[in-house]
Symmetry: C2
Subunit: 226 residues, 2 copies
DNA sequence: GCTTTTGCACTGACTAGTCAGTGCAAAAAG
DNA sequence: CTTTTTGCACTGACTAGTCAGTGCAAAAGC
C-alpha cells in the first residue's frame, strides 16, 4: 500500500493568510512557514496511523524541526490537529463553493452545479488525499477533546451541498420530496468513499473516469441506455 | 453526543458458531460468551475513541472481566480488533447477500436488488452503529498491523454490490458504460455516510425515511417530479 | 462415598517501556 | 534587540503484555 500524498503539494497553499510582496518567502513569515511544514508532516502521519498512534516526536522529525518548536507554535498536540482540520476544511469548502458559483448565473442548472462540486471534490481529494483520509476517519468519533471542532467542520462541508439542493428545490428544479439533509450527506459520502477507493485501489484511473462514473450515478443513468 | 449502540443488541448474535440444544447456556461455551462480551465492549470503545486511544484495561472493565482474561482469549489487542472486524463484516455481508437473493428469481429487477441491499445496510447500521463507525474510521488507514485484514474485509462488502451490478450489466438492465468497481464503492459510501449522519444528527428519523431518500437518489428521482 | 488430580477459565499485581509536555541556555534569524 | 528555533535532558502519567496463582467442576483413584 503506497502512502498518500501531502496536504500541500509543491504549490504553496495558504488560506486566510495575508498577502505580501517579496520573493524568497512569498507571503509568509518564518513562523507561518514552520507551521505549514508541521501541518504537512502531521497530516500524512495522522492519516496513516491515526491521531493517538502518531507521536509528536515523529511529527517534529518529519517536519525537520525540534520538538520544542512544535510547542512554541501550538499549545498542544490536539490543538495542532484541530487547526489542521480547520485549515484543510477551509480549503475544501472554498473550492466547493467556488465550483458551485462558477456554474451559477451563467445558464448552468443546479444539477450542473452539483456535478461541478463533485468534480471540485475529486480535484481536492486528488491533491490532498491524506487530509481526506484523516477527515473521514475522525469525523464520526465521539467522546474526544476536539468534538466541537469536528461538528463545525462537518457542518461546513455538508452545508455547501445543502445550499445548492435547497436552491434547486426552491427554483422548482428538484422535487420538493427530497430530504435536503440526508441527500447532501449521501452525496458527500458517495464522493468521499469513491474517491478514497480510487486513490487506494485504482490510482492509475484518471480523474475524468471517476468523475464520469459519479456523474452517471447522480443523474440516474445507471440503469437504461447511456 | 450520545454513544452509539452495541455490536450485539439483546438478541444473541453468533455467526459460524455451532448450534447446541440445552437451555441455560444456549449454544455457547463459557469461553465464547466471554469473547462475545469482549467484542461488545471493544466495539463501542473503539468506535468512540479509536483503536490506539482505547486501552485494554478499559475494554476489560466494560466487559466485566480481568485484564488477563483478554489475553487468555486473544493473543493481543490487535488480534482482538481483527477478529472483531471479521466477525462484524461477516454479519453485514451475510445480510446484504440475503437481501439481494431474496429479490432474485422472484420477478425482482436488479434495481430492486440494489434497493433491498440499501435497506439491509440501513437495518444493519441501525442495529450495530458502533461497528459501522469503527469500520469507516479504520478502513483507509495504511501502515498498520492489520492492513491485510482491512483489505479482505473491504473487498467482501464491496464485492457483494459489485456482483449485483455485474449481473445487471450482463442481463442488459444496466448500461455497459458503468464502472462496476467505482459505482459499487460510491453506493457503499452513500449508504454508510448517510446512515452515520442519520444516527449522529437525526436519530429520531425513521429507517423508512432514510431509505426513501437514498432510494430516490439511486433511481435519479432527485430532479424532476416525484 | 471420599479424596485427589486434572484442566479450563479467569485474576490482578507487576514490569518494562512509551510518550506528551517542560525547562532552559544558547544560537540563528530578522 | 526581539522573535523564533534548537538541542537535550528530564518527568510523571499511562499502557501493552506477563505470570504465578485461584476457583471450580468433572474425572480418576481408592
Amino acid at each position: 500500500m503506497k502512502p498518500f500524498g501531502d496536504l500541500a503539494g509543491t504549490v504553496p497553499v495558504t488560506i486566510g493568510a495575508m498577502e505580501s510582496s517579496n520573493a524568497a518567502p512569498p507571503g509568509t513569515t518564518r513562523r507561518e512557514a514552520t507551521r505549514q511544514r508541521l501541518y504537512e508532516a502531521a497530516v500524512t502521519l495522522i492519516a496513516e496511523q491515526g491521531f493517538s498512534a502518531t507521536t509528536v516526536d515523529e511529527i517534529a522529525e518529519r517536519a525537520g524541526v525540534a520538538k520544542g518548536t512544535v510547542y512554541y507554535n501550538f499549545a498542544s498536540k490536539s490543538v495542532l490537529f484541530e487547526e489542521l482540520l480547520r485549515h484543510g476544511v477551509g480549503l475544501l469548502t472554498a473550492s466547493l463553493r467556488e465550483a458551485a458559483e462558477h456554474t451559477e448565473g451563467r445558464g448552468g442548472s443546479r444539477v450542473d452545479a452539483l456535478d461541478a462540486m463533485i468534480r471540485a471534490g475529486l480535484v481536492f481529494i486528488d491533491r490532498y488525499p491524506a487530509f481526506t483520509q484523516l477527515y473521514v476517519a475522525e469525523l464520526w468519533r465521539t467522546n474526544r477533546a476536539w468534538q466541537s471542532t469536528l461538528m463545525v467542520v462537518r457542518q461546513q462541508v455538508v452545508a455547501v451541498v445543502e445550499n445548492v439542493l435547497r436552491a434547486g428545490v426552491e427554483g422548482g428544479e428538484f422535487s420538493e420530496e427530497i430530504d435536503v439533509q440526508l441527500t447532501a450527506a449521501a452525496l458527500v459520502g458517495m464522493v468521499l468513499v469513491a474517491a478514497l477507493d480510487w486513490k487506494s485501489f485504482q490510482p492509475e484511473r484518471s480523474l475524468d473516469d471517476v468523475h464520469a462514473a459519479l456523474s452517471r450515478l447522480l443523474q440516474g443513468r445507471v440503469s437504461g441506455r447511456p
